[in-house]
Symmetry: C2
Subunit: 299 residues, 2 copies
């Protein structure tokens, strides 16, 4: 995984192991003709992702002393959304990618219809998890988690950002437009991850300013790192085809700023993200480490 | 709409008008590059569907004196799920349909990528509606609606049924297998519609046996009527290509039983559905009319 800040690797390894166990239980293959659908979901969901979003949920939950089991269930729901979005984005009519995490994408390993349905199924499972009282005993929390995850992943969030990305093939974007696109496409779901702990801790929305600032700056730094990997990364380590943005003539932070300026901007965003956590003291150590990881990762 | 039982037509017309107003507000086109996504959602969601599922929600809400505004918001959420499933099922890699409700299917009118994203967006909007306190003031109700709609639409429900349907192209089904497939593919969402009123009325699950029986029998009758329309319907009235099941060699209730026996079976299911409502008296008049409509409809 390249350079991982001190203290972060055990946390990443632990959450990855926990997520694999959780997905294994969630996606038990039924003894009927839906077996292929479940095998497809397992292929996509249990393929060694970084689990960065569930780790963000767990780290933000530490601020409010939320139980690990609750944090994990919400992290699992977020990862269901993230994986479904990767499956659908990889489809031939979307980004047409053949490789993901070093393995064939789902429509290549199975078929397009199964890939679409596996994405839809993971999408529904995310909300089944959030509606279930095992995720949190307080129904107000379950309803707010549902509302916020739906907003973050729908047309006002992730799906809307992907629509902007499709539209960008016909009209080149400037820096504010790329920023807005990425705030929807990847930033909204990251924002949910960081805020989920506050929702579970019943922290009122107007006391979440610092967390929202952290999520916003972290999300942009994370995206710049992604853009840098697309031009400078090692394809075998990143596990997907690189250089696609440049080949498609897509505007990114890196194409607009140049790699050196983009790297400086990412460092600035990380420092600002960490500054937003100043009131949280030692309980925010993991969130700080994750912020630094955003720009030091190699996949 | 062919033969509509006395009293049902005004109810169908009213809910259709209410749903169009609600979708018009929900899908206000933004002034940015997501405009095309929203136009696509409007094309699919505001194209004169029967709105049978929202009407079922409203009719079942009458049993428990649930306010019309709450019933409509839940009906809108269900219709978001129903429309998303039609968009995805029509895709070239799924059923490859060009016509829906007499108009081009969404991937024909727009493009495949936009159709996939519009489906995903409506899917998320369904849960955004359910998580919002405007749908119901009691968070316990919102959480239970979320849990049950997710179950009904995910791999244990609608999406699982569609996966069974895909698998059936390779292995012909017998009557129990067709029944199970349809109970997932269309029955689960119908079950949610009928039970939503009881959820909002805080009727405990073990007191919902009659409603579940009604939903089960009605769902099967509705599906047989659908199968009959596929072989006997008027393509211009039904608004989609017919005869597809037979052409694909798919087992249906009608192919397994023959049209006459299937029609008798549907009538039996409708009578049983109505019998399940015997404890509800006059408040179930609309649910009874909907049950009769299931087998008398011509589209």
């Amino acid at each position: 995984m390249g350079v991982v800040p001190f203290g972060l690797k055990p946390a990443l390894d632990q959450i990855a192991a926990e997520l694999d166990v959780a997905f294994d239980q969630l996606l038990t293959v039924p003894q009927d003709s839906r077996a292929r659908l479940y095998e497809a979901m397992r292929h996509a969901a249990m393929s060694g992702g970084k689990r960065m979003r569930p780790l963000l949920v767990a780290a933000a939950c530490e601020l409010f002393h939320i139980g690990r089991d609750h944090a994990l269930r919400v992290g699992l729901a977020v990862e269901c959304i993230h994986v479904y979005s990767l499956i659908h984005d990889d489809l031939p009519s979307m980004d047409d990618d053949d490789l993901r995490r070093g393995r064939p994408t789902l429509h290549k390993a199975f078929d397009e219809a199964t890939a679409i349905l596996a994405g839809d199924s993971l999408h529904a499972l995310a909300f089944e998890l959030l509606g279930d009282e095992a995720t949190h005993p307080d129904p107000f929390v379950r309803a707010e988690l549902t509302l916020e995850l739906a907003r973050a992943s729908g047309p006002a969030g992730m799906a809307g950002g992907q629509a902007m990305d499709l539209a960008a093939e016909h009209q080149p974007l400037d820096l504010p437009a790329v920023t807005r696109l990425q705030q929807l496409k990847t930033g909204a779901l990251i924002g949910f991850c960081v805020e989920a702990g506050a929702i579970m801790g019943r922290v009122p929305p107007d006391s979440r300013t610092g967390l929202r600032g952290y999520a916003r700056e972290f999300g942009l730094a994370f995206q710049i790192a992604d853009d840098l990997l697309d031009i400078e990364g090692d394809e075998s380590e990143v596990g997907k085809k690189l250089g696609k943005d440049a080949a498609a003539g897509k505007a990114t932070f890196v194409s607009l700023l140049g790699p050196d300026q983009a790297r400086r901007q990412a460092t600035l965003f990380v420092n600002q993200a960490i500054e937003h956590l100043r009131d949280f003291g030692e309980s925010a150590a993991l969130l700080r480490a994750i912020a630094r990881f955003a720009i030091e990762r190699s996949r």
